[in-house]
């Protein structure tokens, strides 16, 4: 059968490797960053190149409140995970819920902004290069927020049933890495879309 | 460029070392069972075979950069000829703006004298998808890309016919989007230009064919200068009979081939964008006869 190659006692002390969940999530974040980078590159490349139609400054309103809300939710999720690690499950659930609410508000705000742009202004993904790159980039980000919200909701439901315990804090922390990623991407997209153009 | 010699040298050296190693260090019958000395590495060797290749790369890069600059940033002489090439699926349009005419499928240029160079500068545009202009004996290829004008030059110093073809996959008949470059002496070139500048021959004996050309909607795609036909989708036919080939180089320009092409281009070039023509034999004869007067 199989043989132990070496006398185990001969090897040095404790054997510490990074957690696979953390590594896996960071890998996913790396891959997603590459996808966003390409969409951002396309957006930046096409700034000022639309042959017709509205330009960003003519038609966009800066979603400053919902954006601040989204960025604040990074702090609340961080707080929630710390609370869980310390055993403060009620605080965890509360902060987790606020995170969820802030994220949902962000999506609602985006939906409202788009409804106005599409129905009131007639500005769609087909309108011009700006329309195509804007909806694609902001939409890609929004879809990632929605996926995050679904994951957060699942945890929320488990928490409401009392199933989330302090020993789960690391998993929640790994999920929060994804949420932080989504927030950081929004910083970049926000600057590029509402700042640069 | 001495890059090839450098590469050749690298090949000979490494190949010989490999060949030597597999011969000299084979396990032979009668060898003992002991393992050979285990050598784990050598920093000096790693350094040597890192530094030397880096030096080779620097040298190759610098000489390459020089050639790139000489080709792409060449100063354009005052006497250069200018032609705009427009790539279509699956034919070549040649616009001689400085002479005021449009031709198709044959590029005529004057031979260039090294003492007084008259290169031909080609502006490269596309009407549809990506194409690439490649005549190996004249120059490297440059692509024709919609919404991305390119430019290249050729400086042929011998007369003759130079063959090439589209070098960027552009659809079904990419393979038969052939290029024919006629490098001519200056007098011959000037004569060709003069002929191309004339409007179409108006031979009254083929009036029936000319009328059919309109009636059967050929004018929608084709131009015949001096008539009402001003279509831009297909090749300019004003001087069709001055060309050796039809179908962008793929078919010799004979009466029989011309007739068959009009009836159904797909017999020669399936996937060509010119549809088969719904004509009776008599109509086909008349149109062909008309086209055959367009010298």
């Amino acid at each position: 059968m199989s043989a132990a190659p070496v006398d185990i006692s001969a090897t040095e002390g404790a054997w510490k490797l990074p957690s696979r969940g953390r590594v896996g999530m960071l890998c996913l974040i790396l891959a997603e960053s590459a996808i966003f980078a390409i969409f951002i590159a396309a957006y930046i490349f096409y700034i000022g190149k639309s042959l017709s139609g509205p330009a960003p400054r003519q038609i966009l309103t800066v979603p400053i409140f919902t954006s601040i809300g989204l960025w604040l939710s990074s702090f609340t999720i961080h707080g929630a995970v710390s609370a869980l690690a310390k055993g403060k499950r009620a605080l965890f659930a509360g902060l987790w819920f606020i995170t969820l609410a802030l994220g949902a508000t962000f999506i609602a705000g985006t939906a409202r902004e788009w409804r106005h742009l599409i129905y009131d202004q007639g500005f769609t993904i087909q309108t011009n290069l700006f329309g195509t790159t804007y909806y694609a980039l902001v939409g890609l980000h929004a879809s990632h927020v929605i996926i995050g919200l679904i994951a957060l909701s699942v945890v929320m439901i488990f928490a409401l049933f009392g199933k989330v315990k302090p020993e789960h804090h690391e998993r929640c922390e790994i999920l929060s890495l994804y949420w932080h990623f989504v927030d950081v991407v929004w910083i970049v997209v926000f600057i590029v879309v509402y700042g640069l153009s | 460029m001495f890059g090839l010699e450098v590469e050749g040298a690298i090949f000979v050296v490494v190949f010989s070392l490999l060949a030597y190693a597999i011969v000299k260090f084979r396990q032979r019958k009668g060898d003992d069972d002991l393992e050979p000395p285990q050598i784990y590495g050598s920093n000096q060797m790693e350094l040597a075979w890192t530094v030397l290749p880096v030096l080779i790369v620097v040298v190759l890069f610098l000489s390459t950069a020089q050639v790139i600059h000489r080709v792409q940033d060449a100063k354009r002489p005052a006497d250069a000829i200018q032609v705009t090439v427009v790539g279509h699926q699956f034919w070549w349009e040649y616009r001689y703006e400085q002479y005021g005419f449009v031709a198709a499928n044959e590029l005529h240029v004057p031979v260039s004298d090294p003492q007084h160079p008259t290169p031909t500068y080609l502006a490269l545009l596309s009407a549809d998808v990506d194409h690439s202009f490649w005549v190996p004996r004249l120059a490297g290829k440059t692509d024709l890309i919609p919404n991305h004008p390119n430019s290249m030059w050729i400086d042929p110093q011998e007369t003759g016919l130079f063959l090439g073809q589209c070098a960027q996959y552009c659809g079904t008949q990419h393979a038969k989007m052939l290029i024919r470059v006629y490098v001519q002496s200056r007098p011959d070139f000037d004569r060709w230009v003069h002929e191309q500048q004339q409007p179409a021959v108006a031979d009254p004996s083929v009036a029936a064919g000319r009328a059919l050309f309109q009636a059967k909607l050929c004018f929608v795609c084709h131009t015949i200068r001096g008539t009402l036909a001003m279509g831009k989708v297909g090749p300019d036919l004003t001087h069709l009979m001055s060309r050796d080939t039809i179908g962008s180089g793929s078919v010799p320009n004979t009466p029989g081939n011309l007739r068959q092409w009009i009836r159904n281009p797909g017999t020669f070039k399936p996937g060509s964008l010119m549809p088969p023509q719904d004509l009776t034999d008599q109509q086909l004869d008349q149109i062909a006869a008309y086209l055959e007067t367009l010298r």
């Binding site: 199989s2 090897t11 054997w15 896996g24 790396l30 396309a42 | 084979r26 396990q27 440059t142």
Partner: protein, 553 residues
Amino acid sequence: MASESMPLALHRNPLSVVYEWLATVDHKKIGIMYIVYALLFLVVMGIEAILMRIQLAHANSTFLSPQVFNRLFTLHGTTGIFFVAMPILFGFGNYLVPLMIGARDMAFPRLNAFSFWMTAFGGFLLYGSVFAGGAISQGGSAPDVGWFAYAPLTSPAFSPGHSTDFWTLSLLVAGVGSIGAAVNFVATILSMRCKGMTLGRMPLFSWMNLVMGGLVLVTISPLTAAQIMLMVDRYIGGHFFDTDAGGSVVMWMHFFWIFGHPEVYVLIIPCFGFVSEIIPVFSRKAMFGYPAMVAATVSIGFVSLGVWAHHMFTVGMPSYGNAFFVLTTMVVAVPTGIKIFNWLATMWGGKIRFATPMLFCVAFLFQFLIGGLTGIMLATAPFDWQLGNSYFVVAHFHYIIVGGILFTIFAAFYYWFPKMTGRMLDETLGKWHFWLFVIGFHLTFDFMHIPGLLGMPRRVYTYEAGRGWETWNMISSIGAAVQAVAILIFVYNMIRSYFKGAPAGNDPWDAWTLEWATTSPPPHYNFAMVPAVQSRRPLWDIKHPEDPDWRYE
């Protein structure tokens, strides 16, 4: 545990066997499924190649219509990269990496299964297009836009119907599978190594899979992004690549090649891993320059991200743009060369046994050298202006993909088939396979450089007589037939040896890494006791207790 290597169907309900394989999350079974899947598509791809070579053997051939030929080369390239090369390498990686690092499985077994099935479904979707042409109205047929699907040929205007969408969707799906597999490789290698196995003591094959995994994460994603953009254009009226709206089709090229070039390193790096395991064992020497090999591989990974526009030298970039990519492309040749020298140094002073795995590795060394040198020729932009998009390029990349990648995959088969099945592949058949394939390979691809030099572009369904191309094309086509025979011998060898091959035992090659410390095939838990190691060659330490490696590392 000899019974594990016998076909289980003899004494188990066949349905339960099928279910076991369909539902498995065991890395060894998933690895084998990837490999078998890839072999099936290798045969399909080979048939496509044979058909094309028959068409090209003569000038003005009418054996195939242009439409069929254009679909064939599109499918051939797409299948080769995504449904043969990537799955087979994921398969070997999946099977071997946990064993080599002393782990019981990959980090995420369910993700592993999910990734495999996504990749598999992608392939079925692509080939569904071949049959779907008539069934779905307006469905179109197999894609015919070339494996790099340049815009605007892929726009709705120039590719009506859905054939291009089959290309896009099948690769999107397979891409998800690839990213999942990459996440798994990186997490497994970083987080699941057995005690004592620092990163500096991992087998080089593990290192290669780590770099490959990282590269996949940043290289497949750009393709995914570009394909989403293409779908936006084709389905909802977007303008990413719409020149009428001011869009840029060169942008597609940039995005595609930002994926496409690192992708070829994704393919070759695990193959470097095969060679780095096999050459030392058959030379009876430790790998020369392990740290340099690691450093070289990591550098290749990074530099390969900056060379992409050498596929675009003819597109009309300014001179300094072209020059930049000449430089980066030549730079990436340096660490690659370093690896060749280190393999050579490993063989130097050794006692080389020329069993079939080593034969394929030695051929790889010669062929990869040549392919690399033609690559440097192409990196020299002015040469590329003549030779780009010609049969010279086709010859160059097949030299690397067949002469490099496929040869090392054959080596890997002969080396690890005993571990996976408990039986040796037949050496005589192996040598027939090897020599026939070498002859066929060189007939086809050596002479293929010449039509390119004489002006023959690629992706042409036929060519005119009188250009001087016919003889060389005929020779290439004959070589293809010889390769086909060699592959048949290989397939026969595998099938026959599975049932009748000599029993392998744990360690038929007298090797030194952990996969040889367990049975052939391993039990599903891999090791009865998770091992602990003190050097790069744990089994060498056991076999040579008087002179263990850890004294020298």
